[in-house]
């Protein structure tokens, strides 16, 4: 680093700033609806995703009714049940988690945290949201299409997905594939924005290694998504051809309910490779932003620098790269060449090492911190518990031979819900409690927040922890009705009923959260610009909520990394990134290695 004298310039004068191509809205419509402001787009993404997520939540209730109390709701027949699980899974993974973490948090936070005025391509950014919305509409439309939505399971495995033994094979599967393609197109437009903004639009002084881990997580996840989603796109196009035009990409010669179909020679495994080539990185596309956000939550609320920042960055990058060579661990018992098992088990377990490092560093950030048990901090702690739990059960499933008895049982369901359902959702909640004051200028109600946290965290744990043991017993997943099984003790029905009851309670706790979001909009405590005393740039905006262009006339200049909390010798226990400070104090004290 060259060293210009500190304290000379606190901001970049407007004359020095390259002209940003900001679109200036002319009407209410272009300001709030067809907005090109990344902050508005982020809010639009989040609200849409939470809305469609609520649908998926209701679907999970209906599934749990059937599993806990079989036959109580007579309209849940096998076909409906499979439609519910399929839509629940697809919505939660793609349309909720991916959309909130990248489209929501990414849009809102990337420009603010980097000191940019907006995303670099605001128009494409707007198109991204509207394409996403269209994808959601098409998805929802499949509920009303003849035959209903597809019930092929969220993995949409052919040949089953397009044959008549599966519900929704006439319209549902087509709409699902089209919706996914739209989502991918929309995401690609947004993703180009996130990546190029990080590469190009950082303010002066914001080197890569000064970026908050939130940005690192979202950035890496976006790069991964840009490379992984095309696999799903290619697969979706090919399956659409198989379904609509009668090609045989995935369709072997087969007998459909007594009739020989005209397909021939296709490979169902090919779909699985394409799907999981997208599907496994997808897990980390959801996890990496959550890792980043939780790092920042812990650091801010423990008033301590994130421990081992460099290692955290390297781990994010390493996980991102490794996650592209583990996909076939979803296919150990799929009948692919058995020798691939050696390779993929090894890569899968290696990825546990950088992941474990991240966990250690979160814990070591808590160690000798000054822990404020605020609501965001509680969610971060809850994340650590559920993520570690779910991550460790991943070591069972990743270890090829252990996967053989456990695959396709409830153990898998419990594992992925814990690790990529509950854990990232807790982070999303934590993030919303953390940044809501910046978005609205008011704090979320803390009492409701605590109720929401404890019910969600303990409830979700009580749902999914015992479920592992049902899987260990051998209860298969995706069963409409267990029926009579000699090896399943009667107590299983009790446990299933218990899990269902807890699921209802946890679901209702989300209503508290949604109510809180609306209630605090008017009634919440005034937040001020930096209620958590955080160092990162989004808390240093001249206005709260930040105005169009974020920074008023002059862009901030960054003088330090994002984690100067409790710096010895500093007057306050945090030093904002854009605050110059005399060099000697830090050089003397900062070298604790």
């Amino acid at each position: 680093m060259s060293s210009a004298a500190p304290g000379v310039q606190e901001v970049i004068p407007a004359s020095d700033v390259a002209e940003a191509e900001l679109y200036h809205p002319h009407s209410w419509l272009t300001k709030y609806v067809f907005s090109q402001d990344a902050k508005i787009i982020g809010i639009q993404y989040t609200v849409t995703a939470l809305a469609i997520g609520t649908v998926a939540l209701v679907l999970s209730w209906l599934m749990r009714v059937q599993l806990g109390f079989p036959g109580v709701l007579s309209f849940i027949d096998p076909a409906t049940y499979y439609q519910f699980i399929t839509m629940h899974g697809m919505i939660m993974v793609v349309y909720l988690l991916t959309a909130v973490l990248l489209g929501g948090f990414g849009n809102y936070l990337i420009p603010l945290m980097l000191g940019a005025r907006d995303m670099v391509f605001p128009y494409a950014n707007m198109l991204s949201y509207w394409t996403y919305l269209l994808a959601v509409v098409v998805l929802v439309a499949s509920f009303f299409a003849p035959g209903g939505p597809t019930g092929a399971g969220w993995t949409l495995y052919p040949p089953q997905a397009i044959l008549s033994g599966t519900p929704g094979q006439d319209w549902g599967i087509i709409l699902m594939l089209v919706s996914l393609m739209l989502f991918i197109i929309g995401f690609t437009m947004g993703g180009l924005n996130y990546v190029v903004t990080v590469l190009q639009a950082r303010t002066r002084g914001m080197t890569l290694m000064r970026m908050p881990l939130t940005v690192w997580g979202i950035f890496t996840a976006t790069v991964m998504a840009l490379l992984a989603f095309p696999a799903l796109f290619v697969g979706a196009v090919m399956m659409l051809f198989d379904r609509l035009l009668g090609t045989s990409f995935f369709m072997p010669a087969l007998v459909e309910l007594g009739q020989l179909r005209e397909h021939g020679g296709g490979s169902p495994i090919l779909w699985q490779h394409l799907f999981w080539f997208f599907g496994h990185p997808e897990v980390y596309i959801v996890a990496l932003p959550a890792f980043g956000i939780v790092s920042d939550l812990i650091s801010v609320h423990a008033r301590r620098n994130i421990f081992g920042y460099r290692m955290m960055v390297w781990a994010i990058v390493a996980i991102g790269a490794l996650s592209f060579v583990v996909w076939a661990h979803h296919m150990y018992v799929s009948g692919m060449h058995p020798y691939f098992g050696f390779f993929f088990a090894t890569t899968t377990l290696i990825i546990a090492i950088p992941t474990a490092i991240k966990v250690y560093n979160w814990l070591l950030t808590l160690w000798r911190g000054d822990i404020h048990l605020t609501v965001p901090m509680l969610f971060a702690l809850g994340f650590i518990v559920t993520f570690v739990n779910g991550g460790l059960t991943g070591l069972f499933l990743g270890n090829v031979v252990v996967d053989v008895p456990l695959s396709d049982t409830l153990f898998v369901v419990a594992h992925f819900h814990m690790v990529m359902g509950v854990a990232p959702i807790l982070v999303i909640f934590g993030g919303i409690y953390h940044w809501y004051p910046k978005v609205t200028g008011r704090m979320l109600n803390e009492g409701m927040g605590r109720i929401h946290f404890w019910v969600t965290f303990l409830g979700a744990y009580a749902i999914f922890f015992p479920m592992h043991y049902l899987g260990l017993l051998g209860v298969p997943r995706r069963y409409h009705d267990l029926g009579e099984m000699a090896f399943v003790p009667p107590s299983t029905a009790t446990l299933n009923a218990f899990i269902s009851l807890v699921a209802f309670v946890v679901g209702f706790a989300q209503i508290v959260f949604l109510f809180n979001l609306f209630w605090s909009l008017r009634r919440g405590r005034e937040a001020g610009s930096n209620p958590w005393n955080a160092t990162t740039l989004e808390w240093q905006t001249p206005e709260t909520p930040p105005g169009h262009g974020n920074w008023g006339k002059e862009l901030p200049v960054v003088y330090r990394w994002a984690y100067d909390y409790s710096v010895p010798g500093a007057a306050r226990d945090y030093v904002p990134q854009n605050e110059p400070m005399p060099a000697p104090t830090r050089a003397a004290t900062g070298q604790a290695t």
Partner: protein, 233 residues
């Protein structure tokens, strides 16, 4: 998926070198100095955007090729004879690329008239290319090589269609550049716009050459699979 992995390895190497140059091993908490970064990035955002987009589009095409190479090992694979028209189309696309290259250098000199000629010629030849592809499709279909009759045919249609859609997208961008030219936009802006179109055209050409050689010569990749499973035998 071997091709995809090779492609990703290349991306990873480039990203790794770039990250390393950005000081990934520096200790940010020791840097108390003022910022050293210039306020304007060295590459215009639009150009960086195009680079990222080309990477994504390449990934998409490579995945298609991967699917193709896996599917072609199945027993029912019967590659169709390729219409000779494809050779002509390939020539047209090369001409189109050259025309844009010419427009680019003209923009560098500031020769507006030559830029216009280059854009018009490049755009027209790209349209001719698309029409030629359409005729190649008809030729195939008339000869009885239908989409459903063999997966090799289906891949031919899908791969050419995917490429053609990318060409269409490029034509939209080219039309925008032409619009700026007619409105008499500043030379800097025009230069960037023409430059981006040219880069994209070269990408389209390279992509087509690779895809075309794949379709025309239908090389078998079983040896690659053999290499990858060899250690286990």
């Amino acid at each position: 998926m071997i091709f995809t992995l090779l492609f990703l390895a290349a991306v990873a190497v480039i990203a790794g070198i770039w990250l390393f140059r950005q000081g990934l091993t520096s200790k940010p908490w020791l840097e108390s100095a003022a910022p050293a970064m210039a306020s304007a990035p060295p590459v215009p955002a639009a150009r960086m955007g195009l680079r990222v987009f080309i990477t994504v589009a390449t990934g998409f095409l490579v995945l298609l090729v991967s699917a193709y190479s896996i599917r072609m090992e199945m027993a029912d694979w019967r590659p169709p004879p390729q219409p000779g028209l494809l050779w002509v189309n390939t020539g047209v696309l090369i001409v189109s690329s050259l025309a844009l290259q010419w427009a680019r250098s003209a923009a560098g000199r500031g020769d507006i008239q030559a830029v216009q000629d280059g854009l018009v010629f490049g755009g027209t030849s790209a349209i001719v290319f698309l029409l030629g592809q359409l005729m190649a499709w008809r030729e195939m279909a008339n000869a009885g090589y239908l989409l459903t009759s063999n997966p090799a045919n289906a891949f031919f249609y899908i791969i050419t269609a995917a490429h053609a859609l990318h060409v269409l997208g490029g034509l939209v961008a080219l039309a925008r550049a032409g619009m700026w030219l007619r409105r008499g936009a500043a030379i800097g802006r025009l230069r960037l716009s023409v430059d981006l179109c040219t880069t994209y055209w070269h990408f389209l050409l390279v992509a087509w050459l690779v895809l075309f050689s794949l379709l025309a010569f239908a090389p078998s990749f079983s040896w690659l699979y053999a290499i990858c499973t060899a250690p286990f035998r």
